[in-house]
């Protein structure tokens, strides 16, 4: 087994362990939340009698550890159970939501990542120029505005003032890919604005950090032009931090977009999770939570591996 394979395996094993701990903690968290599913669904109209019946039907009268172990044994066999609240299979429930979330994340990422990296490279290339400063201030302003506010601004401009894009990102109305891209343009743009700034700053910083290396001076003393120094000599050595920040932002695009989903009424996983937590629907919380944690862990492992592959020192390890 190569070192790389070993590393991937050990990271994955660790990731699965982390997932397990996350699931246990989430379960405990839901247990600790005041009220349970029956209480949440029946709300003010709950009487002790209906609560009891409801709990019995859902199995909430079982002791917590029994419920957790039941759930866990199901998961190990690939069965994520049923939503306590609606009785539907969790996998069905997640299906379209997952697709929606991934679609929006991919949409935003496909635009944001190249743009951010390019801007970062240009800012590093023309360090301390007007462009650099403008990009820097622009990026800072973009990350300093609450994302729901960015979203409202975009809606005001593009939906209400110009009437170019819809305010509700309704994928169900989309007939084809082009249409889907059109109706989700505003949420994607909001996300793009939020993540670009972070990735751009990191790219710039990483490149500038590398530019201080002796081999950059060497390259310049070989008569290599500045743009080539940045692209050919600095970029390959700055990939690791850039990949890491991209992974972090991709994770954010998948995991952290609740607010954007709310503003655009976009039926993604984030809202599902918030809803499920609010209604104490434990199997759904677990499934979505595990998916999120898994995404995070997987992206991190992927970033690690890509960092290694980008670095010959680690790739051809001794």
């Amino acid at each position: 087994m190569t070192r790389l394979q070993k590393l991937i395996l050990s990271r994955l094993a660790l990731g699965i362990l982390t997932l397990f701990v996350v699931s246990a903690l989430m379960f405990v968290g839901i247990e600790l939340l005041p009220g349970d599913l029956a209480q949440q669904i029946l709300g003010q109209s709950a009487t002790p009698d209906t609560l009891r019946a409801f709990r019995a039907e859902l199995g909430l009268d079982q002791p917590p550890h029994t419920r957790y172990l039941d759930w866990l044994s199901g998961v190990v066999q690939g069965d994520f159970g049923q939503s306590l609240a609606s009785g539907r299979k969790v996998s069905d429930l997640l299906g379209t939501r997952l697709a929606n979330t991934m679609f929006l994340a991919a949409y935003a990422a496909v635009i944001a990542v190249p743009v951010a990296v390019t801007l970062g490279l240009l800012a590093a290339l023309w360090r301390n120029s007007i462009f650099d400063r403008a990009a820097n201030i622009g990026a800072l302003s973009a990350i300093s505005m609450p994302e729901f506010f960015v979203a409202y601004l975009l809606i005001m401009l593009f939906s209400i003032k110009f009437g170019w894009f819809p305010t509700l990102a309704r994928l169900d109305t989309a007939t084809g890919l082009g249409d889907a891209l059109y109706v989700t343009f505003l949420p994607a743009l909001t996300l793009i604005m939020v993540v670009i700034a972070h990735m751009m700053r990191m790219t710039r910083a990483a490149i500038i950090n590398v530019l201080a290396s002796p081999y950059i001076e060497m390259a310049r003393l070989k008569g290599v032009p500045r743009w080539r120094v940045v692209l050919k000599h600095a970029l390959p050595n700055a990939l690791a931090p850039i990949i890491n920040v991209i992974a972090l932002n991709l994770a954010y695009l998948i995991v952290g977009v609740v607010v954007v989903e709310v503003v655009f009424s976009y039926p993604g996983l984030g809202q599902l999770l918030v809803d499920a937590v609010a209604s104490r629907d434990f199997p759904v919380v677990q499934a979505v939570g595990l998916f999120f944690a898994g995404t995070y862990i997987l992206l991190n492992v992927a970033a690690d591996i890509l960092s290694i592959l980008s670095n010959p020192r680690l790739r051809h390890g001794r």
Partner: protein, 521 residues
């Protein structure tokens, strides 16, 4: 109106489609558009605040507007509340009671069919009602059905209910959205997830917490109902998103517009604000068994130390009316209009304090916005106003989560709300009767409880009016509930949406029956 006059100046005209002139629409909700005749056609797109991924079609689980409206559109009830507040037969052709009002016979319509073509039978009704009864039931309507001792199908079209004791308001129960009718599966049970209903619409697509798409049934048995060809309800939880969608024309109708910016919406001539009264009211129940609330004078002092007008204006932004410390809305039958209105009067409050032998009073009011939107603000306003009467009301904020289990019914003084009931009997039995599960004030007024039983079994309307009038008085003067305000329902729609002259005022949007009652002008 608001600043930024530039917004409506000629140079900025057209900033919003159709905003052009700044002319204000007339008084709120007083002039809904009405087409002389309802017309068929069009797709109604609705943006709803509520709706959850945990929603299911099981009638026992309905808990939000999204499902209420869906329930009424896809399924039918035996009885519907008419715009005038009366109980009008729906799936039932007629109903009648024995003189003691303890046995009720419902005759079903012959022409009512399910969307799969089957006609509605008495067995379907029995199974549908039984779904909410019994030990295993988790239905919210279960307590109301506890009075039923027996249900019988008498042939195909007659159902007979036997009650523990007389109840003149019994038919009103069958307006409840839980009690929509499904098919008997042959074994006396219903399939809770069935999509086959007796309503004017069938479900084309349903994504809980996201949207539902409905299409009109061509073979709908009810005359003059279900005008829209299609209906789409979207869950749009964010108020701003709802209003944006309405403004850009992505939806035709939204509920609960943001009251802060509603004045801006009004400027748009293509849009209309609709308000209607309802039975929704806000309460501050005191445990009459706990000191100092066990002294009626203390209760009266508090009832006079709250500034109801301020709460209506500031918390409800004017979309409400002052309450008079009893839960009966002016739109409900047997409303007692002769009662003197409790008003903010610090001197009177002091007077009552004196009668209780106190100079000053300190109480703690437990509250959270989970009780109702603005409950904390209302509590703070109460606290400010009560200072003038020498009463200090400490506002204790409680967590939203678990509010109904940890605070309501538990703390001696808290904030709460009631969505209301169609009749005084249902309202009083639910929250004020000595033995009610939700007797939030632990009030045990003998005369009141006696009247409640008598009035329930009484079929003479004028006698009942007298009795319910006295009960409202008892509630107001002796009861433990401080009821500062009744809320109004506000919705916004584009001007194509038309509705009848008079709408049912129990719940929002024609008591959530707008889908089959409204139309496009």
């Amino acid at each position: 109106m608001k600043r930024f006059t530039g917004f409506t100046s000629p140079s900025r005209r057209g900033f919003l489609a159709g905003t052009a002139a700044a002319g204000m629409t007339l008084g709120l909700g007083l002039t809904p558009a009405r087409a002389a005749e309802p017309q068929k056609g069009g797709t109604l797109r609705v943006g709803f605040t509520q709706g959850s991924t945990s929603d299911s079609l099981d009638p026992a689980t309905y808990s939000n507007d999204f499902m209420f409206a869906t329930s009424y559109a896809v399924f039918s009830t035996l009885v519907e509340i008419a715009p005038d507040g009366s109980a009008k037969p729906d799936l039932a052709e007629s109903y009648e009671a024995t003189p003691d009002a303890a046995t009720w016979t419902f005759r079903l319509r012959d022409d009512a069919t399910f969307s799969d073509g089957k006609t509605v039978t008495a067995n379907d009704v029995v199974a549908s009602v039984r779904h909410h009864m019994g030990d295993q039931s988790k239905s919210g309507v279960k307590p109301l059905l506890a009075q039923i001792t027996d249900i019988k199908a008498d042939g195909d079209k007659v159902v007979v209910f036997t009650l523990q004791s007389g109840n003149a308001d019994f038919p009103f129960i069958f307006n409840d959205y839980h009690l929509t009718i499904r098919q008997d599966q042959g074994d006396g049970t219903i399939d809770p997830d069935t999509r086959i209903g007796t309503g004017g619409y069938v479900i084309e697509a349903f994504e809980p917490g996201v949207r539902i798409e409905l299409a009109r049934r061509d073979d709908y048995w009810k005359e003059g109902a279900a005008h829209f060809d299609k209906v789409l309800i979207l869950k749009v939880g964010d108020a701003a998103a709802r209003m944006n969608a309405l403004m850009t024309g992505e939806v035709d109708l939204i509920d609960r517009p943001d009251l802060k910016t509603i004045h801006m919406l009004e400027r748009n001539r293509d849009l209309r604000i609709h308000t209607q009264n309802g039975t929704l009211h806000y309460t501050m129940p005191m445990h009459v068994t706990t000191a100092p609330f066990d002294d009626v004078n203390v209760r009266l002092a508090l009832k006079h130390a709250i500034d109801r007008e301020a709460i209506v204006q500031k918390v409800l932004k004017g979309y409400g009316t002052v309450g008079n410390d009893h839960p009966i809305a002016s739109s409900m039958p047997f409303y007692n209009a002769d009662l003197e209105q409790h008003a903010y009067d610090p001197d009177k409050a002091k007077h009552y304090l004196g009668k209780a032998g106190l100079d000053s009073l300190e109480v703690t009011l437990h509250t959270a916005d989970a009780a109702f939107n603005g409950a904390v603000d209302a509590s703070v306003l109460f606290s400010e106003a009560a200072k003038a009467a020498g009463i200090s009301v400490n506002v204790a904020r409680e967590p939203d989560d678990g509010y109904w289990s940890n605070v309501w019914l538990q703390k001696p003084f808290c904030t709460s709300y009631w969505g209301g009931r169609p009749t005084p009997d249902l309202m009083f039995s639910a929250g004020y009767a000595a033995d009610a599960d939700w007797n939030a004030t632990k009030w045990q007024n003998e005369r009141f409880n006696e009247l409640l039983l008598d009035a329930r079994a009484e079929l003479d309307e004028s006698l009942r009016a007298e009795m319910y009038g006295e009960m409202q008085m008892l509630c107001q003067t002796d009861g433990g509930a401080l009821i500062p305000a009744f809320g109004q329902y506000v919705s916004a729609m584009n001007t194509r949406v038309a509705m009848p002259e008079k709408v049912s005022e129990m719940w929002d949007l024609d008591s959530q029956r707008f889908i089959e009652r409204w139309w496009f002008a």
